[in-house]
Symmetry: C2
Subunit: 401 residues, 2 copies
């Protein structure tokens, strides 16, 4: 047995095919299916402009039960009015035929261009083709993971196996996300993530744990702070491991494993941000409260000036400290300490002498760690972003309507 993957938890199959929706000939329609009715939970975008599949998906997951997910890339089915809703429902109906279940047990997802009606002829061929390719092997998982990608350069996947009560359960997931990334998902996230597990737990608990895990992972990653119309994270629990998550210890173990999978996926999104050459991990410590810690981390992560400095390997700490100051929450530079890749560059309102050339060299890394200690409390938050390069501009000035 190799590394665990999306289909390692007992009871899951996936398939995908290229149906000609994306211009790049890589899979663009995928199906993820559970052999049994899975306990399900999902979080969705909080953007007031949300796509048709979000509307339908909210309704379908409300009952806490799903048999599967149908997804396409290349068209977001957003801002498409009534026809868009009909098309999302039709995707569920087609997937339901394959799985032999009611359409409402299917969660639909779409990602791609906004404002174009779905090419339903291609979608229909795609769903039937994906159905014909369903399987439980690693290549099936890879194929499904590929079908949700748009401008992403890499597939994103993570899986963790933990022992709970002496028995093993697996939590696995795949996701996409490269641009239009600033998820703020709530129990109602074009970041898409699909998670599978063979643990058994009630829908309410699953929803609570997914929401908490999303907050510390997907909602803490930003490429351009543009909350998409289609963000979705969905988890299906088959229960087929026979392991019930019903004791405080079991819940704690499951939650930790779920957080680990979600954070790995979120990190992969930052690493594959449009035009990114590095991940910037921003940790704000000793903040007054959790909200302040998050707001400061996000303000730093979203500053184009900070992101350009990171791209240029410039230890321009002034931009970082001033970004913290504009977050609109409690922050006092005179109490703060800023550390870049392990070197203190600012302390107590004043610059610290440091070897700028050496620190600049240390910024030429796949991951840059920014650590800001506020000395105002005990709250801590971490946020992941990437640098801002000319390639981001090229990608987004040329991605034409």
């Amino acid at each position: 047995m190799g590394q665990p993957h999306l289909l390692s938890p007992a009871g899951f199959r996936a398939g995908a095919i290229y149906a000609g929706i994306k211009t790049k000939p890589t899979p663009d329609v995928g199906l993820l299916v559970c052999d049994v009715i899975a306990t399900a939970a999902a979080v969705f975008t909080t953007n007031k402009v949300f796509a048709a599949p979000i509307k339908i998906g909210r309704e379908h997951v409300a009952g806490g039960k799903l048999r599967g997910v149908v997804v396409n890339a290349g068209n977001a089915n957003a801002c498409t009015g009534r026809q868009g809703e009909k098309d999302a429902l039709r995707m569920c109906a087609l997937a339901g035929q394959v799985v032999e279940c009611e359409p409402k047990l299917i969660l639909p997802s779409s990602t791609g261009i906004i404002g174009h009606l779905m090419p339903m002829d291609k979608i229909e061929i795609g769903i039937r083709g994906a159905a014909a390719n369903l399987g439980r092997d690693e290549h099936h998982a890879h194929s499904f993971a590929a079908a949700i990608l748009t401008t992403d350069l890499k597939r994103k996947a993570a899986a963790v196996t933990v022992k709970i009560g002496g028995k093993s359960i697996t939590i696995a997931g795949v996701c996409k996300g490269s641009g239009m990334i600033g998820p703020r998902m709530a129990l109602h996230a074009t970041m898409l993530a699909y998670l599978t597990t063979d643990a058994a737990l009630p829908a309410g608990l699953l929803r609570t744990l997914l929401s908490a895990a999303s907050e510390a992972s997907f909602n803490a990653v930003t490429v351009d702070d543009h909350t998409s119309t289609n963000d979705t994270a969905c988890i299906l629990a088959s229960g087929l491991s026979g392991v019930k998550i019903d004791s405080p210890t079991a819940i704690k173990s499951f939650a930790a494993a779920l957080n680990e999978v979600c954070q790995s996926l979120a990190y992969q999104i930052a690493a594959d941000g449009e035009g990114a050459t590095k991940v910037v991990t921003i940790t704000v410590r000793q903040a007054k409260d959790q909200a302040a810690a998050k707001a400061i981390a996000r303000a730093i992560a979203n500053s184009p000036l900070v992101k350009c400095a990171m791209h240029g390997n410039d230890p321009n700490w002034g931009r970082i400290v001033s970004a913290a100051g504009l977050a609109g929450v409690a922050f006092d530079p005179d109490r703060s300490t800023l550390t870049l890749q392990g070197t203190v560059v600012f302390r107590a309102g004043q610059p610290v002498k440091f070897d700028a050339e050496k620190v600049s060299k240390s910024l030429k890394a796949a991951e840059v760690k920014v650590d800001l200690a506020c000395k105002l409390g005990t709250a801590e938050a971490t946020c992941w972003t990437c640098d801002l390069s000319k390639d981001y501009v090229t990608i987004n000035a040329d991605y034409h309507t």
Copy 2:
């Protein structure tokens, strides 16, 4: 007489000199002096990390009276601790010697790199040199306007002459701002703006009118939404026209002229945004309330995806509508109409057929107008930004610590 300029209002002189603080050999120390004690008001950055001259400036303008302004470019005197404060005070003392007034009647301003102690030897030479160059001519105004620039490519100036009670008064101003532009100034922007007028009005009224004018101008312009540590807008009223602003009609006329000058300056900042090739004017109409109108306009103006699309002349209205939806205020795509350069591209939750090539051509302009009607109320707000180009990245990845 030519066009009115900063020194057209009666009672003002200015001077500037290159003292070697900026690497580029253009003026970097300037003095603006009023012949009499001027009624004065100023608004400053709301960033919790504010520069030493902001701290000193707040104290000095608190009394509503100033004789002048001393300013340098090339060093922001921010995050410089106690020594920074001493240096800002020393700038006031040196300027006070020139003007023959108490130091507290001088407002200090600085812009440039954060976290470096001020080169006080150069500053001292600069202030004495600027003093030697004081005068009332247009070239003196130009020289002062140049001394406040950093990455700006152009001088920014505006002036309006209006008749109030049969007599003329002039309001004039200069400003700088190109990067780190997302002012949120309050009575308490590195956008710097200095305004002069020969009208006579009490300090309290001047403060109220400057605050209102700033809100609809400087606070409505964004390049990268990074509120600086040094943002300042200051107005000096000499009163030497003999025109008192003391009736509702006079106040209305003065306020309108002040708004016009401030909006012209704000527009010039957007046009000279780092790497900018065009101004994007975003007007949000029929919003639920003023706060919602502003939040939506700012969310659109700050979206890197929208700014890249504008750079690529791409009528990608989906990015604009989804940016409106993420503003966190009342917005309903099903009620909204989006117009790009006069062409309706989205209405009532659905795309509208339009000639994408024609609209794309219309986006190749010095100014692009984005108009979003929300149909939820009567509030309106306008925000100015620029496109996001590779040059922005070049400028900010290479502006080294």
